[in-house]
């Protein structure tokens, strides 16, 4: 039965990568088509104002937790 697992791995990883590579190129194409330029652009994750609204709670929490942890680590 183990050989079946190997078959699955080969096929599985192949499909995962085919999917993700197609996704990557699609995203690049989308970026070319839909990238805003100049002042009207909604800012990305590291630019100020609007981006801050867009940063997900998850990331915000991650940043905050990281800082808290660092503060804790350095004080201990």
């Amino acid at each position: 039965m183990i050989i079946e697992g190997v078959k699955l791995m080969v096929i599985g990883m192949a499909i995962v990568y085919v999917f993700l590579i197609v996704l990557m190129f699609s995203v690049m194409l989308s970026a070319r088509l839909f990238k805003d330029s100049g002042a009207g652009a909604s800012a990305g994750p590291v630019t100020p104002v609007k981006s801050r609204r867009n940063v997900t709670p998850v990331i915000a929490a991650a940043v905050k937790a990281y800082r808290t942890k660092r503060a804790g680590d350095s004080s201990s």
Binding site: L8, V16, M28, A41, G44, T47, T56
Partner: protein, 433 residues
Amino acid sequence: MKRFILIFAILGFSLGMFSGIPDCLGDTVSEVEAAAAEQDRKLASFPQLLNNIATSTGIYGFIAGNASSWTNGLGMFLMIVVGFLLLYLGIAKKFEPLLLVTIAFGCILANIPLAGISDPGGVLYYVYDVGIKTGIFPLLIFMGVGALTDFGPLLANPKTVLLGGAAQFGIFSTLIGALVLARYVPGIDFSLTDAASIGIIGSADGPTSIYISSQLAPRLLGAVSVAAYSYMALVPIIQPPIMKALTSSEERKIRMSQLRPVSKRERIMFPLIALTLCLLFLPSAAPLIGFFAFGNLMRECGVVDRLSDTTRNALINIVTIFLGLGVGSQLLASEVLSLETLGILLLGIVAFCIGTASGVLMAKLMNSFSETKINPLIGSAGVSAVPMAARVSQDIGAREDPQNVLLMHAMGPNVAGVVGSAVAAGVLLAVFQ
């Protein structure tokens, strides 16, 4: 004080009188009705009643259950201890508390002897039957996670999507490991679908693990889910040694250029692109990727904010409570207390290690082909475990160079890992369904 005595006297008298009234007074009731009521009337005699009560205690349940099978007695007790242990890990150690606390409570309730809370007719049975067996709860969690996830870092640097693929190597190598265990260890008997469910622990993604094991191997659902969430909580302990072992100090110091701004329209297009690719190439992953994309689209499209707010707050919280209880209700002694569970726990940690290593190695591989170097520390974030794994990348990087901010860069592979896991899950569903 006078009234006090009076009242008690009256109460005592009334009760004495009531109970003293001979039964023959009841002749107004017709013979037929009396016969029918007779059964109802037969509360046991007093010593018998005391005995009945005693045999309905949990202590008796543990002892008597043990007589038939140890998993019905001592086993249930042990599972309750495991439940309290999980509570301790969740509360005192803050291991993924949202899920571990709810799973732990479900585990305790399900293993209370004689209460039957997870038997047909019990509350947790309904929760499991309606929400987990159907796959609805994990999909709703996935929708909520979609509404919580910012794909900005991934869109700003699409190459990082490849790191989210490498980490799926953990899924498939663990699947093989499970088959190896099944072949060579007597008492462990994993089928191919069992092995697939165990491998999915390596996705480091809770709802995906629950969805796949509920579809492919419901009997392993409890163990697989607990392993997945436990190891996700242990990511800050599991990953760092592997990451350090596979990278040089120079590599860990690589700084990455600031991410470009991502437009609103790119953000809206992303879930639609993912959905389109999924429906064209891998329809079996459509429930997972579909609900994830739906949540993310609601988040980004900007016209249904009240829906996405509810999705990522009230709805995901309510579903989390029930999902946890339902998963916990599957941690029954008779299912979980076996050598197989030990095997699952062992394979789970192997899965996490291989996934971490694969991500880091893939990053190094990409560096050997590309001019713009990426810090291989962000490769480990490809296992999912959002956002814990990205924080670990940041942390290890900052130890070498405190000014190096990798967090945002690591969020790219981190969210790519969720998509990659959903794709891997889709492959497993396509093969076995």
